[in-house]
């Protein structure tokens, strides 16, 4: 055990308390849950996100102006229970309906679907957008089986901005769905993370090997390969990402280079450098490039790259004001 934690069973709650120690003037814990809600609510569609904890800043910190109104965490790597989601949603619903935005995992689907049915039975309008951006998880003909990874950032940004723009529930859902459909990601890792309270990492890679297509919970990727340089790895990943969904010549892209927990800032910058270069060589214009830990998996050593192809309307929403603890707006203007 090398983690600076207290009781393993209290990790999710104490993480949340730390977040509120910083941002408690804006957000408050929803009683009886691991959910956090905005203190001041605007008259707009309520965006509610959530999923297992242990991926911080996902989902705990995906809350703020232009992002979610409530986020509902579960225990480490486990989807939140329906009752928690219902309470989180009710804490922020203002009669304009609720949009669920979450990653495409069976546990999240099961629990959010039960929550949606309960809310609908009480007369609330609920629609859902699932993020399924991981191209390594399944081939294109089984895109519904794909997992949601760091590309959820773009979907959250668009959903939040569309809601702030005062659009109705159906329109917000359509735009967030469009963003999800136009986002592709892929991860790679050279070492796994350990769930607090367990002694062994969720997977062990032989020294000198990397897992291409690694999932956010240590799920295996498409294959194991010999460790390669940053440039070789980026080139390979971009080929797979752009190969899965090619961008049209007039389509600008938002790009996210994401650290999975134990990757140094220097590594991420080296990766960002190559990513920008490769995309430029491929004739893809980058509208914005974000680099940092946006979706992690404990101390997993690795990174993911996400590419989000914009339309003019999506670009406007992406550029609209939005702020979280880890994001303050587009880097390129």
């Amino acid at each position: 055990m090398r983690k600076f934690i207290n009781e393993p069973s209290k990790v999710a709650q104490e993480t949340l308390e730390g977040f509120l120690a910083i941002y408690g003037d804006q957000f408050a814990q929803v009683p009886g849950t691991l959910a956090v809600a905005k203190r001041v609510l605007d008259d707009k569609v309520a965006i509610v996100s959530g999923g297992g904890s242990g991926h911080e800043p996902v989902w705990l910190e995906y809350i703020g102006p232009g992002f979610a109104d409530a986020v509902c965490q579960g225990d480490i790597f486990a989807a939140p229970a329906p009752q928690s989601i219902v309470r989180a949603a009710k804490a922020v619903e203002r009669g304009r309906g609720i949009l669920f935005v979450y990653g495409n995992y069976s546990g999240d689907r099961l629990n959010f679907d039960l929550a949606a049915e309960e809310l609908q039975a009480e007369g609330h309008e609920v629609l859902t957008v699932r993020v399924a951006d991981d191209v390594a998880a399944a081939p294109p003909d089984r895109a519904n089986d794909r997992r949601g990874i760091a590309g959820g950032f773009f979907v959250s940004k668009i959903a939040g901005a569309a809601s702030e723009a005062g659009l109705d529930l159906k329109s917000v859902q359509e735009l967030a769905t469009l963003a999800a459909d136009r986002t592709r990601s892929m991860g790679v890792a050279s070492a796994g993370g350990t769930i607090p309270g367990t002694d062994e990492p969720t997977f062990v890679l032989p020294d000198g090997k990397m897992e291409i297509g690694m999932g956010m919970h240590g799920e295996a990727g498409v294959r194991r390969a010999d460790m390669a340089t940053a440039d070789e790895t980026v080139d390979h990943m971009i080929r797979l990402i752009v190969g899965d969904r090619s961008l049209s010549p007039d389509e600008k892209a938002c790009v996210l280079v994401n650290g999975l927990g134990a990757t140094t800032r220097a590594e991420l910058l080296i990766i960002a450098r190559r990513t920008a270069w490769v995309l430029d060589q491929a004739g893809i214009r980058i509208h914005d490039l974000q680099v940092g830990d946006f979706a992690t998996s404990q101390e997993m050593h690795g990174f993911s790259i996400s590419v989000f192809g914009l339309t003019p309307e999506l670009q406007k929403l992406y550029d609209a004001p939005g702020r979280t603890s880890f994001f303050s707006g587009a880097n390129r203007h």
Binding site: I76, P80, L110, I195
Partner: protein, 224 residues
């Protein structure tokens, strides 16, 4: 014994909870082999809450109790397992009148209804390397026992064996559902953790029923 009182069922379910709780490490390891390693923690959390519920409450209605156990699992566990194992106890009891006893036909009906709901919501089917690969043969066995007029002890024993065989066969399946799905052929050789949990549940039911076969704790709800 061909019928159990609500008090018997309560004692049996406490035995189930105890067995799951003591299996935490086994389940954690099984899940880590081909999943994310949180199955043991979640099941222990859920069945600890179930144990507290059962110890704190007396029940006249078996279906109400099963429903309460399911709700408690869904609420306390989260994750896919919370809903799936919650539905195992809850879905078969929903929308049906109260029953003050559990018989083999009632158990067979209950778990058949639960399987339908788990399949409808979860989207997995038999052969996908999930808990269904243990649950489905167990429930088929219960149905056969119901038609044959078997005692509860015999029916649960047969169901537990069928579940265990199903869990064992899941080693030879390639995961097509859940977090192990992307492992593909690398999931071969490992049983599904949910199938193991299912086997533990039926085994604990069978063992409690066998041990209390001669002298069921008819109405002594205080005893466990």
């Amino acid at each position: 014994m061909d019928r159990m009182t609500a008090g018997d069922v309560r004692s049996m379910l406490i035995a189930v909870a105890d067995r799951i709780i003591t299996s935490e490490r086994l389940l954690t390891k099984a899940d880590r082999d081909i999943g994310d390693g949180d199955h043991g923690l979640g099941m222990t959390r859920g069945f600890t809450a179930v144990r507290e519920l059962l110890l704190a409450t007396t029940f006249d209605d078996v279906r109400g109790m099963l429903s309460g156990v399911g709700d408690t699992l869904i609420t306390s566990m989260g994750g896919a397992s919370g809903v799936v194992f919650g539905l195992l106890f809850r879905a078969g009891a929903q929308g049906l009148p109260p029953s003050d006893v559990l018989t083999v036909p009632i158990a067979a009906d209950h778990f058949e209804r639960s399987i339908r709901e788990i399949t409808r919501r979860g989207g997995a089917t038999v052969g996908d390397k999930t808990m269904l690969d243990a649950l489905h043969p167990a429930v088929e066995s219960l149905r056969r026992s119901s038609e044959a007029g078997d005692t509860l002890a015999y029916a649960f024993r047969r169901a537990a064996i069928a579940a265990g065989e199903g869990a064992d066969r899941s080693k030879d399946l390639i995961a097509r559902f859940g977090k192990a799905m992307t492992l593909g052929e690398r999931s071969l050789g490992f049983p599904d953790a949910g199938a193991i949990s299912t086997t533990i549940i039926f085994t604990a039911m069978a063992e409690w029923t066998a041990a209390n076969n001669e002298h069921p704790t008819t109405s002594a709800q205080g005893e466990v």
